[in-house]
Protein backbone atom coordinates (compact mmCIF):
# COMPACT_ATOMS: atom_id res chain seq x y z
CA UNK A 1 0.00 0.00 0.00
CA UNK A 2 2.95 2.29 0.58
CA UNK A 3 4.45 4.26 -2.30
CA UNK A 4 8.17 3.47 -2.64
CA UNK A 5 10.44 5.05 -5.23
CA UNK A 6 14.20 5.15 -5.89
CA UNK A 7 14.99 7.75 -8.53
CA UNK A 8 17.61 10.16 -9.84
CA UNK A 9 15.19 13.05 -10.33
CA UNK A 10 14.26 15.65 -7.75
CA UNK A 11 10.85 14.94 -6.17
CA UNK A 12 7.97 17.27 -5.32
CA UNK A 13 6.72 16.84 -1.73
CA UNK A 14 3.50 18.72 -2.48
CA UNK A 15 2.60 16.40 -5.36
CA UNK A 16 3.22 13.45 -3.02
CA UNK A 17 1.00 14.98 -0.32
CA UNK A 18 -1.80 15.52 -2.86
CA UNK A 19 -1.43 11.90 -4.00
CA UNK A 20 -1.66 10.70 -0.39
CA UNK A 21 -4.72 12.77 0.52
CA UNK A 22 -6.73 13.41 -2.69
CA UNK A 23 -10.41 12.54 -2.44
CA UNK A 24 -10.23 11.48 1.21
CA UNK A 25 -11.75 13.06 4.30
CA UNK A 26 -10.57 10.54 6.90
CA UNK A 27 -7.04 11.93 7.32
CA UNK A 28 -6.35 14.12 10.33
CA UNK A 29 -2.70 14.78 9.69
CA UNK A 30 0.19 14.35 7.30
CA UNK A 31 3.75 14.33 8.65
CA UNK A 32 6.69 14.73 6.29
CA UNK A 33 10.44 14.76 6.56
CA UNK A 34 12.67 15.92 3.73
CA UNK A 35 16.40 15.24 4.07
CA UNK A 36 18.57 17.78 2.26
CA UNK A 37 22.18 17.81 1.08
CA UNK A 38 24.26 20.13 3.29
CA UNK A 39 27.41 21.81 1.99
CA UNK A 40 29.51 20.66 4.96
CA UNK A 41 33.27 21.26 4.62
CA UNK A 42 32.80 22.92 1.25
CA UNK A 43 31.18 19.84 -0.29
CA UNK A 44 30.67 20.06 -4.08
CA UNK A 45 28.22 17.15 -4.37
CA UNK A 46 27.03 13.91 -2.79
CA UNK A 47 26.98 10.77 -4.91
CA UNK A 48 24.41 8.25 -3.72
CA UNK A 49 24.93 4.59 -4.56
CA UNK A 50 22.46 1.81 -3.78
CA UNK A 51 21.81 -1.88 -4.25
CA UNK A 52 19.13 -2.16 -6.94
CA UNK A 53 16.66 -4.90 -6.12
CA UNK A 54 17.51 -4.99 -2.44
CA UNK A 55 16.79 -1.29 -1.91
CA UNK A 56 13.17 -1.46 -2.98
CA UNK A 57 12.66 -4.57 -0.88
CA UNK A 58 14.25 -2.99 2.21
CA UNK A 59 12.20 0.21 1.85
CA UNK A 60 8.99 -1.78 1.39
CA UNK A 61 9.73 -3.76 4.55
CA UNK A 62 10.41 -0.61 6.55
CA UNK A 63 7.14 0.93 5.30
CA UNK A 64 5.25 -2.29 6.07
CA UNK A 65 6.63 -2.23 9.62
CA UNK A 66 5.37 1.36 10.04
CA UNK A 67 1.95 0.28 8.80
CA UNK A 68 1.91 -2.59 11.31
CA UNK A 69 2.81 -0.29 14.22
CA UNK A 70 0.59 2.72 13.46
CA UNK A 71 -2.89 3.10 11.92
CA UNK A 72 -1.81 4.83 8.71
CA UNK A 73 -3.99 5.67 5.72
CA UNK A 74 -0.90 5.92 3.55
CA UNK A 75 2.85 6.23 3.47
CA UNK A 76 5.37 7.45 0.89
CA UNK A 77 9.14 6.91 0.79
CA UNK A 78 11.23 8.42 -2.02
CA UNK A 79 15.03 8.23 -2.07
CA UNK A 80 17.23 9.78 -4.71
CA UNK A 81 20.40 8.20 -6.09
CA UNK A 82 23.18 9.57 -8.27
CA UNK A 83 24.71 13.02 -7.99
CA UNK A 84 23.03 15.46 -5.58
CA UNK A 85 24.07 19.09 -5.15
CA UNK A 86 24.14 21.07 -1.89
CA UNK A 87 20.66 22.34 -1.03
CA UNK A 88 18.92 19.63 -3.04
CA UNK A 89 16.58 17.08 -1.43
CA UNK A 90 17.83 13.51 -0.90
CA UNK A 91 14.95 11.70 0.73
CA UNK A 92 11.26 12.17 1.52
CA UNK A 93 9.23 10.19 4.02
CA UNK A 94 5.56 11.08 4.43
CA UNK A 95 2.83 9.45 6.48
CA UNK A 96 -0.90 10.10 6.75
CA UNK A 97 -3.22 9.04 9.54
CA UNK A 98 -6.52 9.92 11.19
CA UNK A 99 -4.42 10.73 14.24
CA UNK A 100 -1.65 13.29 14.56
CA UNK A 101 0.65 11.30 16.86
CA UNK A 102 0.52 8.25 14.56
CA UNK A 103 1.59 10.39 11.60
CA UNK A 104 4.37 12.17 13.54
CA UNK A 105 5.77 9.07 15.21
CA UNK A 106 5.70 6.87 12.11
CA UNK A 107 7.43 9.60 10.08
CA UNK A 108 10.28 9.77 12.63
CA UNK A 109 10.41 5.95 12.71
CA UNK A 110 10.66 5.67 8.91
CA UNK A 111 13.60 8.02 8.55
CA UNK A 112 15.42 6.51 11.54
CA UNK A 113 15.04 2.96 10.24
CA UNK A 114 15.76 3.94 6.65
CA UNK A 115 19.09 5.40 7.76
CA UNK A 116 20.26 2.10 9.22
CA UNK A 117 18.33 -0.52 7.22
CA UNK A 118 18.26 0.52 3.57
CA UNK A 119 21.29 -0.17 1.32
CA UNK A 120 22.39 3.34 0.34
CA UNK A 121 25.91 4.74 0.53
CA UNK A 122 26.98 8.36 0.27
CA UNK A 123 30.23 9.60 -1.19
CA UNK A 124 31.22 13.24 -0.71
CA UNK A 125 32.89 15.02 -3.63
CA UNK A 126 34.95 18.17 -3.07
CA UNK A 127 35.81 21.00 -5.50
CA UNK A 128 39.44 19.82 -5.78
CA UNK A 129 38.28 16.48 -7.20
CA UNK A 130 38.87 14.45 -4.05
CA UNK A 131 36.19 12.23 -2.58
CA UNK A 132 35.36 10.58 0.73
CA UNK A 133 32.90 7.86 1.70
CA UNK A 134 30.56 9.03 4.44
CA UNK A 135 30.91 6.94 7.58
CA UNK A 136 27.94 5.53 9.45
CA UNK A 137 27.18 7.51 12.62
CA UNK A 138 26.63 6.09 16.07
CA UNK A 139 23.79 8.61 16.60
CA UNK A 140 21.89 7.06 13.71
CA UNK A 141 22.22 3.60 15.25
CA UNK A 142 21.02 4.99 18.58
CA UNK A 143 18.06 6.72 16.90
CA UNK A 144 17.05 3.48 15.16
CA UNK A 145 17.47 1.52 18.39
CA UNK A 146 14.73 3.61 20.06
CA UNK A 147 12.20 1.89 17.81
CA UNK A 148 13.31 -1.67 18.46
CA UNK A 149 10.41 -3.90 19.49
CA UNK A 150 10.56 -5.03 23.10
Amino acid sequence: MATIRVQEDVFDPQAEQVALTAGRADIGGVAAFTGLCRADDGLAALVLEHYPGMTERALAEIAAEAERRWPLTGCTVIHRVGRILPGEPIVLVMTASAHRQAALESCAFLIDWLKTRAPFWKREEFPDGTGRWVEARAEDDAAAERWRSP
Binding site: E49, M54, I90, K115, T116, P119, F120, W121, E135
Partner: protein, 86 residues
Protein backbone atom coordinates in the same frame (compact mmCIF):
# COMPACT_ATOMS: atom_id res chain seq x y z
CA UNK B 1 24.67 -24.00 -10.97
CA UNK B 2 27.65 -24.48 -8.67
CA UNK B 3 28.70 -20.88 -8.19
CA UNK B 4 27.60 -17.76 -6.40
CA UNK B 5 27.30 -14.20 -7.56
CA UNK B 6 29.08 -11.74 -5.28
CA UNK B 7 28.37 -7.98 -5.37
CA UNK B 8 30.43 -5.17 -3.85
CA UNK B 9 29.32 -1.65 -2.95
CA UNK B 10 30.87 1.66 -1.87
CA UNK B 11 34.45 1.43 -0.55
CA UNK B 12 34.40 -2.37 -0.66
CA UNK B 13 33.83 -2.06 -4.42
CA UNK B 14 36.52 0.64 -4.72
CA UNK B 15 39.14 -1.49 -2.98
CA UNK B 16 38.33 -4.65 -4.95
CA UNK B 17 38.15 -2.74 -8.23
CA UNK B 18 34.95 -4.18 -9.65
CA UNK B 19 31.32 -4.40 -8.65
CA UNK B 20 30.54 -8.07 -9.08
CA UNK B 21 32.03 -11.46 -9.80
CA UNK B 22 30.84 -15.02 -10.19
CA UNK B 23 32.77 -17.39 -7.95
CA UNK B 24 32.92 -21.09 -7.11
CA UNK B 25 34.36 -21.30 -3.62
CA UNK B 26 35.57 -24.62 -2.18
CA UNK B 27 33.24 -26.77 -0.10
CA UNK B 28 34.63 -25.56 3.24
CA UNK B 29 33.14 -22.08 2.55
CA UNK B 30 29.83 -22.52 4.32
CA UNK B 31 28.98 -19.12 5.76
CA UNK B 32 29.55 -15.38 5.34
CA UNK B 33 32.60 -15.37 7.64
CA UNK B 34 34.40 -18.18 5.80
CA UNK B 35 33.44 -16.65 2.44
CA UNK B 36 35.07 -13.35 3.50
CA UNK B 37 38.25 -15.18 4.53
CA UNK B 38 38.36 -17.02 1.20
CA UNK B 39 37.63 -13.87 -0.87
CA UNK B 40 40.46 -12.04 0.94
CA UNK B 41 42.97 -14.44 -0.70
CA UNK B 42 41.92 -13.59 -4.27
CA UNK B 43 43.87 -10.34 -4.78
CA UNK B 44 45.61 -7.55 -2.83
CA UNK B 45 42.44 -5.45 -3.33
CA UNK B 46 40.26 -8.20 -1.88
CA UNK B 47 42.69 -8.57 1.02
CA UNK B 48 42.44 -4.86 1.75
CA UNK B 49 38.65 -4.84 1.52
CA UNK B 50 38.30 -7.66 4.05
CA UNK B 51 41.23 -6.80 6.35
CA UNK B 52 38.78 -5.84 9.10
CA UNK B 53 35.81 -8.15 8.56
CA UNK B 54 33.87 -6.43 11.37
CA UNK B 55 33.76 -3.26 9.21
CA UNK B 56 32.04 -5.08 6.34
CA UNK B 57 28.31 -5.83 6.25
CA UNK B 58 26.69 -8.56 4.17
CA UNK B 59 23.41 -9.47 2.55
CA UNK B 60 22.36 -12.85 1.16
CA UNK B 61 19.64 -12.78 -1.48
CA UNK B 62 18.76 -9.15 -0.60
CA UNK B 63 18.50 -9.67 3.17
CA UNK B 64 21.05 -8.35 5.71
CA UNK B 65 22.92 -11.24 7.35
CA UNK B 66 25.26 -11.91 10.24
CA UNK B 67 28.70 -13.58 9.70
CA UNK B 68 27.34 -17.00 10.71
CA UNK B 69 24.65 -16.96 8.02
CA UNK B 70 25.07 -19.91 5.60
CA UNK B 71 25.91 -19.37 1.93
CA UNK B 72 24.97 -21.88 -0.77
CA UNK B 73 25.48 -22.32 -4.51
CA UNK B 74 23.04 -20.07 -6.34
CA UNK B 75 23.01 -17.38 -3.66
CA UNK B 76 23.52 -13.70 -4.44
CA UNK B 77 25.86 -12.41 -1.75
CA UNK B 78 26.69 -8.72 -1.29
CA UNK B 79 29.42 -7.02 0.77
CA UNK B 80 29.40 -3.34 1.69
CA UNK B 81 30.14 -0.83 4.47
CA UNK B 82 27.50 0.13 7.04
CA UNK B 83 24.74 1.97 5.16
CA UNK B 84 24.64 5.79 5.05
CA UNK B 85 21.44 6.72 3.23
CA UNK B 86 18.70 9.09 4.27
Amino acid sequence: MNGMRVLYFAWVRHKIGHSQEDISPPAEVKDIASLMRWLATRSPGHAQAFVQPAHVRAAVNHVFCQPDHPVRPGDEVAFFPPVTGG
